[in-house]
Symmetry: C2
Subunit: 135 residues, 2 copies
DNA sequence: AATAAATCCAAGCGGAATACTTGGATATAG
DNA sequence: CTATATCCAAGTATTCCGCTTGGATTTATT
């Protein structure tokens, strides 16, 4: 079980924005260079982050992105879900026909796993990451 | 973030074995039919489960698979990891070059998520699933 | 006004991984 | 000796991931 690059790159990119919070917009190019990501790929991630209301964009020359709120107001879980989609280990959880069997004995398990993941990522803000703080 | 079919099918198949524990071997065909899985695909999963020491096989006619131990002695986490590989959300965790940046501020996060997943799946046995018991 | 630097947007595309199939060889109950 | 099973190694089709391409639009700077 692995997270896609979207989630990993996304959180790292947001950390970069957090590190320079209050110092004006940062361009995708800057972030991509610092982390050696593809900048055209990063564009797509920021598009999703913007749609989720986590960043604001400033267009034109000298433009770039800034965090939509202070780093301690941005939940890591929101970043991850906006890029990866919901944490859903099996369609079990939302779907009606639980893995084709009505009396599915594993549903509870997947829900518990999902809850525990959300528990971790929803109790941590960007500021916490900067501080190296445990939840 | 999603589990592959291996993990999901695998746990369900093991639940089937647990439900009929002590009543002799069950063939792949039986399980595959009950859950409407492909039986040739299931073969591969059971091969991995056997390698992990979670099931025993009886070859030949009237053969099949049985749990290697009592249902309360089989950890769900072992089933999942034997099929999915280790729960490693980013190479961060084991790899040396943490996402290309030495001072990676996200490493702790991924480790905490991983730990919380393992916490859930390692504190639950097949018997717990049968009982519908929370961990 | 012109230019350069940036976001925006939609589509395409190659490679890898997933989910599954195929074709056998071997073992064993009846 | 035959049917039923596990065993095993490839092959394959499809999907998804990670990334590229080709623009259009916006805006600071000169």
């Amino acid at each position: 079980m692995k997270l896609s690059t979207k989630g990993r790159y996304g959180v790292l990119a947001m950390v970069e924005l957090a590190l320079q919070y209050g110092q004006g917009p940062i361009s995708i190019k800057e972030i991509a260079e610092k982390q050696s990501f593809s900048d055209s790929y990063m564009e797509q991630l920021f598009s999703a982050l913007k749609r989720a209301g986590l960043v604001k964009s400033i267009r034109g020359a000298r433009g770039g992105y800034i965090l939509a709120r202070k780093p301690d107001q941005i939940i890591v879980g929101d970043i991850i879900r906006s890029l990866e989609g919901p944490i859903e280990l099996a369609q079990c959880i939302t779907g009606s026909d639980c893995e084709k069997s009505p009396e599915c004995l594993t549903k509870e398990l997947w829900i518990d796993v999902m809850d525990s993941i959300n528990q971790v990522i929803d109790h941590r803000t960007l500021q916490d990451l900067l501080d190296g703080k445990e939840a």
